[in-house]
Symmetry: C2
Subunit: 134 residues, 2 copies
């Protein structure tokens, strides 16, 4: 079976990056690597590495994205859990053969990475992302 290397990141939806950093950086003590506008995700993201993973604070920048709807309906909180894999295409094929419902049947390709989401209906309620460094 294709390997899962680590938790790449845990994504937390927030209403306000600065207010969120008052907890995650100033009180909890995580290091802030950088804050980046990510137009493809319609979000501003703060990256806080910890161990071999990251916490990503995701603030929607429009009203029509999945994270914007999550924030409007449920308030801030954990949004998805991302695992880094060796071979995302092989992993998606394995999952599909096992009847797992995929949001992305083929990976989204971006510079330096490929990513795909698994539907929470197949995971017991967790939005799972797979991520391959390319």
């Amino acid at each position: 079976m294709t390997g899962v290397k680590k938790i790449n990141h845990v994504a937390v939806v927030v209403a306000d990056i600065d207010a969120a950093l008052a907890f995650w950086q100033d009180a909890l003590g995580l290091e802030l690597h950088h804050v980046e506008d990510v137009p493809s995700q319609k979000a501003t993201v703060a990256f806080l590495p910890v161990g071999d993973s990251e916490v990503e604070l995701v603030k929607p920048t429009t009203d029509d994205s999945g994270v914007a709807k999550f924030l409007a309906e449920r308030g801030g909180g954990m949004h998805h859990l991302c695992f880094e894999v060796d071979d995302i295409a092989a992993k998606l094929a394995e999952m599909k053969a096992k009847g797992v419902r995929l949001i992305n049947e083929t990976p989204i390709e971006l510079p330096g990475r490929k990513m795909a989401f698994i539907h929470p209906k197949s995971t017991g309620g967790v939005l799972v992302e797979l991520y391959e460094v390319t």
Copy 2:
């Protein structure tokens, strides 16, 4: 500031351990370390190490625990995010001084570990656990 070492675990509340393992172990491909009854948490927990962290699948064994209420109200999903720290007492004191609302002002001490929860009101909606290996 007292250091945060890594994500110790991400806890996922599940209704059925075997059904959950059909995804997390069989389809995603995480290694199952062991399944353990944890009476102090009124839960059965499956431990799946990945990278320097773990996914913990938590099935409530009574109706009156926090995880049982979470499952009844929201269904399965991510429940809390646990960070391993060097010195939990110092970290809690730092947080309290910064006005963070703590669920446990003094750590719960168990063999080999100390743990405490931070209230989601202070984190932007995430139940955060701190964990020190002793």
